[in-house]
Symmetry: C2
Subunit: 143 residues, 2 copies
Amino acid sequence: MDKKIFSTFLKERGQRLTKERTAILRRTLSLRGHFDPESLYVKIRATGLKASRASVYRTLNLMCECGLIEKVTKTEHGTIYEHTLGQSHHDHMLCISCGHIIEFFSETIEKLQEGICKKQGFDGVNHTLEIRGYCRKCRKKKK
Amino acid sequence: MDKKIFSTFLKERGQRLTKERTAILRRTLSLRGHFDPESLYVKIRATGLKASRASVYRTLNLMCECGLIEKVTKTEHGTIYEHTLGQSHHDHMLCISCGHIIEFFSETIEKLQEGICKKQGFDGVNHTLEIRGYCRKCRKKKK
DNA sequence: ATAAATGCAAATCGTTTGCAACGGA
DNA sequence: TCCGTTGCAAACGATTTGCATTTAT
């Protein structure tokens, strides 16, 4: 399904679905939640598949362009991505102790945002709401 | 006022308020809204004051540690800071066309977030809500 | 055969750091 | 004098890019 989207996207632009790109796409889709380029690269290597870091970066950019994935946030360790397909919009809680990410969604918050944009004459394309703090586990550990 | 806070903070740690740090502090405080290290550096230089890039980065980190400023977001062009003092918490709209930043605040959204955290057993320390899109001006330009 | 994609290594960009020279306390 | 601080340049880490080589169509 997603593979179809990607290959169509590439074909339209006269680009090719090589085995490296396929490997990267497959591995990316197999991931559940959020991921970053380096760990994706390591995982691909661990599987015995070959694809350079350069190709990983290049392919992730392509996947972003065609809307399969998107950048969630930038941390000191790099960019974090997530899948967009089959995923409705949501926001994130990020544990600053263990890096755990919790997704959530609030229809009310969405509506409020729309209202605020309208008031400002702002044409909102997308948004990110990130709450940083300590997850349940790390809270317990702390005390 | 802010200068007092900074010098006290430094003294407590056995550190010194040098003229470079003073220059950086002053220039930073003179800025209204958001800023990034490089443009701050350029502005300082333009004023004829001397302070190296290294010192700018080092001093901004100190100012973060003592809570005078904080990191708002990371863009492809670097980290964006803002003042914390005398500024109540607020969120941002970021125009992806001209970079213009609009601040806003919604008590309701804040409350909703608290509720969501509680539900997840998450101890929220801080959060950022960033709406990206086109500001009024750029909207008009587009069509 | 042609044009695109690869891997590598070098190049970037923002930021940090090691170090010798400098300067307040 | 004693340490903290500075500026510079080198070091960094994430990402991009130039280029010669490989590969899909």
